[in-house]
């Protein structure tokens, strides 16, 4: 800049003062895009819906009797539920009794992925709240989470007997959601 003459400096300053306008115009464009009525900001769709479940193999949570989980476990039986949880996630705690109830009173098969969690925390958590899971994969690195396209915990998937993903819910389950969405999907697949 030491070479700049007063004239080029002046032009530079002029350009500098246009920058806010340009940034604003760009922002406006994006905001306009955001108004598309087709767009539902709450629906984070899964690219995996109606596709075969991804391949994965996860070890058991160290210190827990429950076996680990791999792609093969999901296939062969009736429809199964796969729940991604973590002991550090508060909403997971909220949905936990609902999951237990599904297993106990509706006979649903429930598998779990313990997502980015310390083994000892997960063991303590399950000891405190009970363990309704038939098998739990310990996804320490979050690798399987990437395969499954997890955007956050908790998430719940329904997988049919062929290993195809039929339903996905991001966020905690509620009683209403279970009655109105989850159970009908399970019923249909039986």
């Amino acid at each position: 800049m030491s070479e700049a003459t007063p004239r080029t400096m002046k032009i530079l300053i002029r350009v500098l003062f246009i920058v806010p306008l340009l940034i604003f115009a760009g922002t406006l464009g994006y905001l306009y895009f955001g108004l598309d009525p087709q767009r539902d900001p709450r629906a984070v769709p899964s690219a995996l819906l109606d596709k075969p479940a991804p391949d994965f193999e996860l070890p058991a949570v160290p210190g827990l009797q429950t076996p680990g989980l791999s792609r093969g476990d999901l296939e062969g039986g009736g429809p199964v539920l796969l729940n991604v949880f973590a002991s550090w996630c508060v909403p997971c705690r909220a949905e936990h009794p609902l999951l237990s109830e599904l297993v106990e009173s509706r006979g649903v098969t429930l598998y779990g992925i313990d997502y980015k969690d310390k083994a000892e925390d997960a063991v303590a958590w399950l000891e405190e709240l009970g363990n309704p899971y038939a098998a739990i994969g310990h996804d320490d690195s979050g690798r399987a989470g990437i395969e499954w396209g997890i955007t956050g915990v908790p998430e719940t998937f329904v997988i049919d007997g062929d290993g195809t993903i039929r339903y996905r819910h991001a966020g905690p389950l509620t009683r209403q959601l279970i009655e109105e969405e989850l159970l009908p999907v399970l019923e249909q697949l039986r």
Partner: protein, 665 residues
């Protein structure tokens, strides 16, 4: 009949706004005094007309006039009077009418108290204000008419969202709007100055009180909203980095920056273009906030009815207002000459650093809030940006800001001696390190960031007190001399000290409650006792109560510490049958150093109400300090506002052709 009067008054207000936006502007350009003088009566008339419209709507709510569609949608005859009134702005149409009312209120305030402004500037400021109100009154009338009728009228209304039936939220929108819309004053002043092509020390002094007023309201509005989230949502948190919260934080950050840079314009005639830009952007972010909340652009925990056509309308308004102002800025601002030069270490430089950090902080919040949308627009799928992003970007920006805040007020204008200043702040430095280390030891090596923040808060608090003590020569001169000096110190100075100290106290609260909060969630049977952070909570059971428009399960906890009775907490879970919506009412007992916070969930077995219930207990250290800090900051703003030099109605001082650098510090 009354709703039609309101509707008609609103149409008339639009006509008045059109006149106020055109005649005085033309008059100012051509030097016609008569045309310019139309501005003041027009501003007052506009306020009167919008007030009639607003009161007409309020009347419809109070008498539960179910022929008005808006009342049907958002009210219910069994609702308490307070919430019938707050229901007026608890919905989209009514809240936009409140927005317009506040806008015209500010316009009328300029007309009444702006006697010290040069005639031409005043006409232009009011003209720009009228442009904004034209846009928003048209928005109300064409896309969100609150006076639309319904036939045949239903027997009763649909009730207000029960989450909003709360005293905190009844006053949250008006306060927040007073802040948001108050920034329109700074915007109008900036645009008027750009049209005039002149920004000087006097302009800096005129724009400051309006910004300060808006800032006080905005601070109050944000704090109240946060307080509402804290006790009504029942999650024990008070800030969730939710888009709706973020859009109120951005104007606050820029408004704070504007307050500080306007001081530099006033005292030193420097940073002019920057200050103008801040004034435009601060209001721009307010409009953006309105746009985001009203268009349903981003998903949020806060529920509002959204409608894309309204979104397009606000987007056009936003484009015209901010785009137009920035275009004017690009053309005119390069000509603004800075007069006061300053060294890299000086009060000006300190304030510039403050501005840069606040501006960057606002930018990170902006990026974090809109990034999901940006990524989606580029085909990258949907993501959500959560607290980790903000903790990672926003917090590291705020720490140096606090560090600079402690030393800034001790720096001299033009050129300062940093080593000397730090020498005077030795005590604060030592105390800060002691507090930081103390926190680290007491929390068994708790989060390093939190200990650092504790140390910085202590630094800011002490440095502020030391600065004030030095100013009045406390302990150096005889006490009578100190008192005399204290009496002569401008109120704006006390205001600054209060605001800075308030922030320090708030930081203690924010840090402690984020880092050292304890929670316990479990099933409890009546008679069981749970101990959290040294307090024993005995669960006494749950009883069923009937409220005016809800029924409630109220639990009761007896809290003791070392066997001594502390408090009885009675959290509730309410069901509002009209909307079939449940709400949680947390029970909070504050000890001054911590909040004891209890929430009741569902019974384990819905049939067995005497059995086990899900119970959530939180121990929230120093949370009360956060609210106290916010109140002290607002108090500081108000004290500063009462300063004689900033008094809005003070007689005009002619400072027209100021020679270069002649503004006194």
């Amino acid at each position: 009949m009354i709703p039609e009067i309101g509707h008609f008054a609103l149409i008339l207000a639009l006509v008045v706004a059109l006149i106020q936006g055109s005649l005085p502007m033309l008059g100012a350009a051509r030097g016609k005094r008569g045309w310019m003088r139309v501005a003041e009566p027009a501003a007052l008339l506009q306020l009167l007309l919008v007030l009639i419209a607003f009161l007409a709507l309020m009347q419809a709510y109070i008498v539960s006039d179910f022929t008005v569609w808006n009342v049907v949608e958002n009210s219910h005859s069994a609702k308490p009077l307070l919430y019938k009134i707050s229901g007026v702005w608890g919905n989209h149409e009514g809240s936009m009418l409140l927005w317009v009312l506040i806008l015209t209120l500010y316009g009328a305030a300029v007309a009444l108290f702006g006697g010290n402004l040069p005639e031409r500037l005043r006409a232009r400021v009011l003209g720009v204000q009228a442009w904004i109100s034209t846009g928003f009154i048209a928005f109300c009338l064409f896309t969100s008419n609150p006076f639309a009728r319904v036939t045949p009228p239903p027997l009763d209304g649909n009730d207000l969202n029960p989450l909003l039936q709360d005293p905190g939220l009844a006053f949250h929108p008006p306060l927040l709007y007073l802040g948001y819309v108050g920034l329109s004053m700074a915007f109008s002043f900036a645009v008027a100055a750009l049209i005039e092509g002149r920004v000087d020390a006097a302009w800096g002094r005129w724009v400051r009180p309006w910004t300060l007023l808006a800032w006080c309201f905005l601070t109050g509005g944000i704090a109240l909203g946060s307080w509402w989230a804290y006790y009504e949502l029942g999650w024990g948190g008070w800030w969730f980095w939710d888009p709706v919260e973020n859009v109120s934080l951005m104007p606050w950050l820029l408004g704070t920056a504007l307050l500080h840079s306007a001081v530099v314009v006033e005292k030193r005639e420097a940073l002019k273009a920057w200050t103008i830009l801040l004034a435009i952007l601060a209001f721009g972010f307010s409009l953006l906030g309105t746009f985001i909340v009203r268009s349903g652009l981003l998903s949020s925990v806060h529920a509002f009815a959204s409608d894309p056509t309204r979104g397009v309308f606000i987007l056009i308004l936003l484009g015209l207002a901010v785009g137009g102002a920035l275009l004017l800025f690009a053309v005119r601002a390069p000509k603004l000459q800075a007069q006061g030069l300053f060294a890299p270490i000086s009060r000006e430089a300190g304030l510039l650093l403050n501005n840069l950090l606040l501006g960057t902080a606002a930018a990170t919040v902006f990026v974090g809030t809109l990034y999901p949308l940006l990524l989606e627009a580029m085909g990258g799928g949907k993501v959500s940006v959560g607290p980790p992003y903000f903790n990672l970007t926003f917090v590291p920006l705020f720490l140096p800001l606090v560090l600079a805040m402690g030393a800034g007020p001790l720096l001299n204008w033009k050129r300062a001696d940093l080593a000397g200043v730090l020498g005077r702040l030795k005590l604060a430095l030592i105390a800060a390190i002691a507090v930081g280390l103390g926190a680290w030891i007491l929390s068994d090596g708790g989060p390093v960031m939190a200990c650092l923040a504790f140390g910085l808060a202590a630094w800011l608090l002490l440095a502020t007190l030391i600065e004030l003590a030095e100013r009045i020569s406390l302990f150096r001169a005889p006490l009578t001399e100190s008192l005399r000096r204290a009496g002569r110190l401008p109120r704006a100075h006390y205001g600054m000290s209060l605001a800075h100290a308030g922030l320090a106290i708030a930081i203690f609260g924010i840090t402690a409650s984020s880092a050292w909060k304890q929670e316990e969630v479990r099933l409890m049977r009546p008679g069981e006792t749970l101990t959290l952070a040294g307090y024993a909570y005995r669960f006494e059971g749950v009883e069923r109560l009937q409220g005016p428009n809800y029924r409630s399960d109220m639990a009761s906890f007896t809290v003791t510490r070392d066997g001594d009775y502390v408090a009885t907490l009675t959290p509730e879970k309410r069901l509002y049958p009209v909307q079939n919506a449940p709400t949680t009412e947390a029970a909070i007992h504050t000890t001054g150093l911590a909040d004891l916070y209890a929430v009741i969930g569902d019974p384990q077995d819905p049939q067995d109400r005497a059995g086990a219930w899900t119970v959530r207990l939180y121990h929230e250290p120093l949370v009360p300090w956060m609210w106290a800090g916010a109140l002290i900051m607002i108090l500081g703003g108000l004290v500063s506002l009462s300063d004689r030099r900033l008094r809005v109605g003070m007689p005009a001082r002619r400072r027209k052709s100021l020679p270069a650098g002649a503004a006194e510090a």
